[in-house]
Symmetry: D2
Subunit: 374 residues, 4 copies
């Protein structure tokens, strides 16, 4: 991930402060002739508030995304990409003054207030509850476009742990995920999380979460050994999500507990010229390259700072002080990170598909004839 841009062929450049005039991104390098609709993009944004069936009237996201460039209207409806940069913009309907009079601002522990100041000597201190929502919107919009580059691939995310309560993987059902407010794939865990988060909210506290994203039907061969590893790019994309503190692929940190026999995924013949893996401890990536098995990535999101209890801190002028924030707060920001995680995985996969196609052209097919030299 580099600068404000990530990706090398399918590139996404984001801009804007969530509370500023507008927020947006530029997607360039998108292949031409891909069709999508604004409704699809808007639906991806709306998914950031789960729990509503897509067949009922959807409460629309107050921030609407606009497409400024890079597409034409398709005669059959919707948009089609031209191959030129696609700019997506989300305007902020309630602007605030840009004045930065809050000179003696205290730094909120666990937030980037201090680090912005120590880096630049100036910071835009305006924040707010809706910020995090809008901030994720552009990435989710870019992910909706990236998804069009990989027809046949599915990318789905779910929360697998909130605080100390982990789901039961044996009951994993993707169809449950849209039916509860937690992107939870295990129906029996939902009431546990509801009760737990009610308590957290009443106490004015917050808690962390772990999100798992699974990509299926990914073509094998994406990513490059030595350089440009797919897992390295997934790691930076997911660690770049606000409040993320850890990333793992497949067994992840648990792989450190396993022996070689337990961890290696044996292979047998499968369908369609691909091996069939008897297990997937690798999480779909070996040597930095996709194997064709599902790519499984997880990231941990820290809790936001508690805000109803005064916290010890310092301020811009070097004084020790306390700080607490009034008002409504999000007891578990990890939940809204699910669509962002999916979007980042879409963007990284789209980029790697184009890079693989660029370097290699037509993919080789396994098995190779016994006498083939390549």
């Amino acid at each position: 991930m580099s600068f404000n841009t990530f990706g090398h062929l399918f590139r996404v450049t984001t801009f804007g402060e969530s509370h500023g005039v507008a927020i947006g991104c530029v997607v360039d390098g998108c292949p031409p002739n891909l069709r999508f609709t604004l409704d699809e993009v808007q639906a991806a944004l709306d998914r950031r508030r789960p729990g509503q069936s897509r067949f009922t009237t959807q409460r629309r996201e107050p921030d609407q995304v606009k497409v400024l460039s890079g597409t034409l209207e398709h005669p059959e409806g919707g948009l089609v990409t031209t191959g030129t940069p696609i700019a997506l913009l989300i305007e902020n309907v309630d602007q605030r003054s840009k004045d930065y009079a809050d000179i003696a601002g205290a730094y909120r522990p666990g937030h980037a207030d201090f680090t912005y100041d120590i880096k630049y000597g100036i910071r835009d201190h305006r924040g707010g509850g809706r910020s995090s929502a809008r901030e994720t919107a552009t990435r989710v919009a870019a992910g909706a476009v990236a998804a069009k580059v990989l027809p046949g691939v599915t990318v789905r995310g779910a929360v697998v742990r909130i605080g100390e309560i982990e789901i039961d993987r044996s009951r994993w059902d993707w169809d449950e995920v849209p039916n509860n407010p937690f992107f939870c794939p295990d129906p029996q865990t939902v009431p546990l999380w509801e009760a737990y988060l009610d308590g957290i909210r009443k106490a004015g506290s917050s808690v962390g979460a772990v999100v798992e994203v699974v990509a299926e039907n990914v073509p094998p061969g994406l990513g490059a050994p030595l350089y440009a590893k797919l897992d390295a790019d997934l790691a930076s994309a997911l660690m770049g999500i606000n409040a993320a503190k850890g990333v793992e692929i497949g067994e992840g940190f648990n792989a450190a507990r396993l022996t070689g026999e337990e961890n290696a995924d044996e292979m047998r013949l499968g369908n369609e010229g691909k091996p069939h893996f008897l297990a997937n401890h690798a999480g779909g990536i070996l040597g930095g390259i996709s194997t064709g098995a599902p790519i499984v990535a997880r990231f941990a999101v820290k809790p936001t700072s508690s805000i109803l209890t005064p916290r010890l801190t310092v301020d811009r002028a070097g004084q020790e002080t306390e700080i607490f924030t009034k008002g409504r707060h999000d007891p578990c920001v990890g939940i809204r990170a699910v669509p962002v995680g999916e979007a980042m995985v879409w963007c990284v996969l789209a980029d790697h598909l184009l890079r693989h196609r660029g370097q290699v052209g037509a993919s080789p097919h396994w098995p190779f004839a016994a006498s083939s030299t390549a």
Copy 2:
């Protein structure tokens, strides 16, 4: 991380197969007028075999690193950088034939054999026990140069878990790390790991490990919000290490278990115009920017595949078969990853120091006068 090159100002481009003619890297963007010696670089390479006091005769790494460019000899001894690209080369003293007659090669489960083939349709199948050793050498060499960009900063790594056996953090002593074969900071865990690994080795098995790297005295302000986050770059650098399957910063995945009160690091006045953090759950990075507190990163290394038991697999020609490798094997490759992790952290920090200095020039100093506008 991009392609074969990582970093944006302090850039490292690696090349070479460990079993080929030579392996090396090019470091460009290194500031001029930094002094280092080949002995320092060689010592970093030799550290990959811990357990020998640096005051005794060190057994030198059989592969010697050469500096091909980018330096001059300093009148007082050693080398000094000129600001032009520094090429480091390690020649392979025992070359092998490049013939790739092994057409029907079976794919070793858990290795990149299959993925190389499915990506390129051709692969260099020659591998070997010494490969992983040499592969790490160029990165460790680059890290030795990177360290010169950050005088005053220390970067140290240690193994914190092997298999199910974790160290006792309350007994952490950095001085112990060079005194045992495991980079272990807890003297009481050493015999436990020795016994455990003896059993693993006899069983012809292998096991994973977790490595922790700590960087101290890192200037605050490195990394950029929104884009170019320091933790995102650390994540891709560490996930890019062979056999790495997970990366975390500070509390990492454990942050998901904590509440806001438990996780936020409160601040008081400290020395030298920096706040003093009362805790460091953040691992030294907030909002993608260094805080000045120690940067704490951990990565998990998976076990190599067991090799004395035949494993089910397929081969290049599409046949189901079995594979097992004869000979000596490494029961825990995670151990030798410690210097590589340190080197990657050095390289990422060097890059971010130059990027910060480039964008901002002279760093702002906290505290800021009460009436200061910037």
Copy 3:
């Protein structure tokens, strides 16, 4: 220049079709705490129609630039950069339908119609006279921000040749440039160009031009030998301007006619710790690095295709046909390229200043003490 983004630390990403919803750019990596006003940016845009004294009422550019992010309002007025990405947007006040029904469109010779189609299989065929005006606007806006990174530096452009009529350099007067419609520095050439272009316009023809851009007070040391040469970056920036077909630095192509004695710039002691160059055939750059002497770059702009005479061409369906465009046309598009050339030079210099500062930190000062080793 790479993708839709140019620069490495001071990076500009542009988006938008001139006839689409909006056009804009994102400037990221801009140092914090730089002040500028929207009026300054708008004035740069308005300069694209020269001939009006800045002390009279300026006819404002119909397309207004907005700043969407990356700044705060300064208490003393105007904006100040925060170091975060600055998005600049120019909305198109008269949108057109996105329908692309013109399937059998003929390709205009000398335009990119055919090449867009052959690359992407789809193209946005809507164009128009105002397109080129708006297209340049975002780059000029980015250049206005870049100028703030280099206080003390001046960058000025002028037209030096239209068709076969070249200025007389001995009469070069920068103060004349804003006083005529041609950015001409030689008052005696102005009536010659006026007469010539009147004839060209009446004939329904068009003609090419050469633009020269001079940057003064550029710090020496910008650019890097071997890699990242300042002149290579200037070349790609200027060749990337629409209709540009040639770029030269200093003597340029004329250097091929000179002998070594004629071309080398001898040096004597100057002021302020810089040498004084007795000539400037080098155009301010040696070995890819700025010398401190004025940087002189020239680029040639081709004429737009004649449009009142039918031209032989083919169309999308593979038929031979003719094409001619009705309406008003620009007899010399090279003239409006002057502010674009200036803006590109500002952006490249800003990028190189940050890169130099990043790699080197505080610049060395010449002369160096006789016994100094660095």
Copy 4:
């Protein structure tokens, strides 16, 4: 062109001082399964001394190129690329001491001596006649690999002007180019250049030259509008050649003298689904994208400084002084730039082919059916 690396998918990173231990480059992103031989690469290097028929005994370049990685031996002979980074190394057979005792070194006018010092405060002052030869070697080697990415494409260079003597284009014959010491395509100009350069050499002077490189059978559609223009990348690649001061495409600076009717290239139906261009003023590129017509690029090389006459200069310690160099010198360095120009064009085209293939996949075919939407 960026840093020490140019290209985005087919990437070349160079390193080494010509007088140092070794010089080399790393080519990464090369497609797999391309065959080449060391003899082909060596032959490209040897071409830097033209005038010898390839059927006679070739005097081999004293510096031999080695391939360190990224290939395997093909059963039928030669090497085949594996898709992994290819490192090419040329060792310097006569090393020199790295001591930099020449503290009071005078700066040679027209050379990069002063600019290196003012940028870094330290420079490697060792140079020499053979330097320029070896410096070009790595780029020529990289170009030989790049050529394999574009089978069917030809890239050929020639000198078109030395000093004031230009060739007669009506007598252009590519078969003449290898038959004379000047890469001259016009047999009648050869004796004129011989006589002229004899005089130049005797006078201890030097003169500049213009080199033209033509690429034929380039697929249309390479390069991208708005971003990643092919001509912009060619411009930076060619301007990056040592001593280059100008670059032009097609008509180049002469386009500024033409009217629209004279400059536009009309089209008729051609063979193989491509239009036939009735002229090629555009030099094969429109809107930054290749048209399929021959790509014609020219670059101007300045003369090296005269060296037998003392030149006024200053030195490192700030003293005014004189400098002159003894010994043999090259009267026209532009001549040896021809293979370098070809190599740079190969590299840029290879990179753009991969980028185009990556973004678009299978290229669209013209003509498009009348009712086709894409």
